[in-house]
Amino acid sequence: MAERIGVYICHCGSNIAGTVDVAEVTRWAGTLDDVVIAREYKFMCSSLGQAVIQDDIRKEGLTRVVVAACSPHLHERTFRNACANAGLNPYLLQIANIREHASWVTTDRQAATNKVKALVAGAVARVRHHRPLEPMSVNVNPHTLVLGGGIAGIQAALELADAGYPVYLVEREPSIGGHMAQYDKTFPTLDCAACILTPRMSEVGQHENIRLLAYSELEQVSGSIGNFRVRIRRRARHVREDKCTGCGLCIEKCPRKVVDEVFEAGMGYRKAIYTPFPQAVPKIPVIDTRSCIWFERQRCRACEKLCPTGAIDFDQQDEFLDVEVGNIIVATGWELFDCRRIPQYGYGRLANVFTSLEFERMCNASGPTGGRIVLRDGVTEPQSVCIVHCVGSRDQRFNTYCSSICCMLSLKFGHLVMEKTGAKVYACYIDMRPNKKDYEEFYQRLLDEGMLFVRGKVAEITDVARTPQEEGKLIVQVEDTLLGKQRRIPVDMVILMGAIEPRRDARETGLKVGISCSMAGWFIERHAKLDPVATMTEGVFIAGACHGPKDIPDSVAQGAAAAARAQGMISKGTVKIEPVVASVNEDKCSGCRICNNLCPFNAIDYLEEKTVSQINPALCKGCGTCVAACPAGAITGAHFDRDQVEAEVSGLLWDAHGDGRPATGAREPALEPALPQE
């Protein structure tokens, strides 16, 4: 039976009709085989436009629909729903992308019209081979895994837990809190970071719906939306969680002190058995086996002797915890740029060049200096400070992006320095970007307070003096682009606003959960504008600075948004998944097992007894690699099957074979000279 195909060409106002002869295309489309109706309409996506299609399906008995309009990424769903509502299986629709791929590509009317004809011919040829598909429905496990216990992860976990859904919160460090726990004040309100963060942390620690797994890491993820199986490595704390009361006696008595590179950013010390900071959640300490005297030379055990509850366990091993969850929220945060990578800024060589994180710890009242702003000697207050913006960001050599928070961070630092020491503060910036609510006002406040702004990228920071005034100072060499002059600014202290970078192991994490990374290493969202929380993998969401540089309010907002998305699926109970998956025809399968190793999702099993391979539709993500590889043609890729793709190719080339070309190209060479082989 011949199909009855309806073709609908959208004008998209003048977006398509402005460059494409829509009337001509419509007339021509009506002459194609099996096309019973070809119509044009100003806006196909409008409810009136959809009604046109639906009427034709009902009255003309259309069995296939082609919509030539914008990209299928925009309105495929709209038109699929329209078809479904009129009683046509939604997968019997094909979109021809004539806007993004034709009318917006060229201004040549003839060329655009020709291309549109080819695209429409391709879609018509393909849609004939479409087969009705039914989306699969899967149940959604109400548990959610939140990866990362910074402010974004905390927010996501609390939103879900407060809504009554159980959450596993996994944090790599011994305590949750993330970078925010390291800060002293937060811009632009100058709220104390700990005062607003620690109540939320203890809420997490005490919440009946949150299982907090600190000092743990994601090991492996399998399964798919609704039913992920996750293996978590619980690193050995060497302190038993069930016995420890968090009294802190062990920490007090531990004789080994080491530099804390993580929480104190190398500015302060901690013991070998420690909690990163006093308000840590959970308050259970961990033993750092790399610095503990017992692990080093089998002596000491002071903590074990003094622990009143016998919680110390030197023999504890890493344990694995397997959990099942319906959704995963990834909030793994960021890392600071290694400022040593710009040697001319002298970090690591010139003592009084600090990074922004070091300075945060210095400002913090519970930090290594008790909140006093002093030079590296620990006593001298600086008379003058220079803050260098964009260290490793907006720089072709390192990161091209803007780290977005540093301008405000710099203003906050400027305020704190002036408030605490009265020192003169310079900021060398490329552009000031205080672009959110109340930020501009904070900038104005700092201008009023007398912070000095120099527009120019710093060339060098040196201790080599040229004049007596520069003696013993750090000299910041910068071109003031507003004055058009080179300046040498002698200061006591320099703070480098290092770039916000993706976690070093972001790609590895991405591979485990199925999120791809941008070139820079940030996790890629599903849609840059309309879906900044979801990812390409259904059931996996992103929140916070693992997605790109973000300040606290944005991280919190995204954490809450991710939780809302997960919650929506949990409260609905089931989720429909795309039926675009591969399947094996057992009669054709020879059991060669070529496909088995091609699948990165382990969706293909080999059935020994039947000597055939089989695809698990719940694990298959529909890439089609196995379909392309099967030498027996035994694997079918739903909606992207061989006959469908080949028909589309044939349609796309309607003008190249058949009437488009001479039957014998006598003057053309039969062969092109092959390229010489090495």
Binding site: E100, S516, T625, F640, E646
Partner: protein
């Protein structure tokens, strides 16, 4: 009579996640580029069956452009590596069939690289313009040329595999 400029007909096999989005983005940003590539959307460049490419040539395409996510950025983790392997194989096969391997290109373009993709398309179209039309379906002849080329490749394979030494 003025000679018409040859407009090559190129079939594109673009992956749904990166390159197809890059092509969309190129349109959205009105980055003008040659309208010669007619794109087939596939879920992954790994879906590109070598037979699709040969089919396209057999149906009269002057070139085929495969585009996918950058290596290491595949939405399906690593399937574009498989595309890479097939691409090399296909180039060989095309040479054996007497078709210049310049007619087949593989481009990596992330969703953000609209300009890069547009540039790659322009480059390819220009290159194929210099090659001229392929007209494969119309040009099947049985001259010795085919066989010589095939034998050359066979010999090369034998040498590479050290067969018969």
């Amino acid at each position: 009579m003025q000679r018409e400029i040859f407009e090559p007909k190129i079939v594109g096999f673009f992956c749904n996640w990166c390159s197809y989005r890059a092509a969309d983005a190129a349109g959205t940003a009105r980055i003008r580029h040659a309208p010669n590539v007619r794109v087939v959307r596939l879920m992954c460049s790994g879906r590109v069956d070598p037979a699709f490419v040969l089919k396209a040539f057999a149906l009269g395409a002057d070139g085929v452009l495969i585009a996918g996510c950058h290596p290491g950025e595949c939405h399906y983790l690593e399937q574009n590596y498989k595309t890479m392997r097939r691409f090399v194989l296909l180039k060989h096969t095309l040479q054996a069939l007497g078709i210049s391997d310049r007619r087949l290109r593989l481009v990596w373009a992330s969703a953000a690289e609209a300009a890069r993709l547009a540039e790659a398309i322009n480059e390819m179209v220009e290159d194929i313009r210099t090659l001229g039309p392929l007209n494969w379906p119309a040009n099947w002849t049985d001259d010795r040329g085919h066989l010589d080329e095939v034998e050359k490749i066979l010999l090369e394979h034998q040498q590479a595999m050290e067969i018969g030494r």
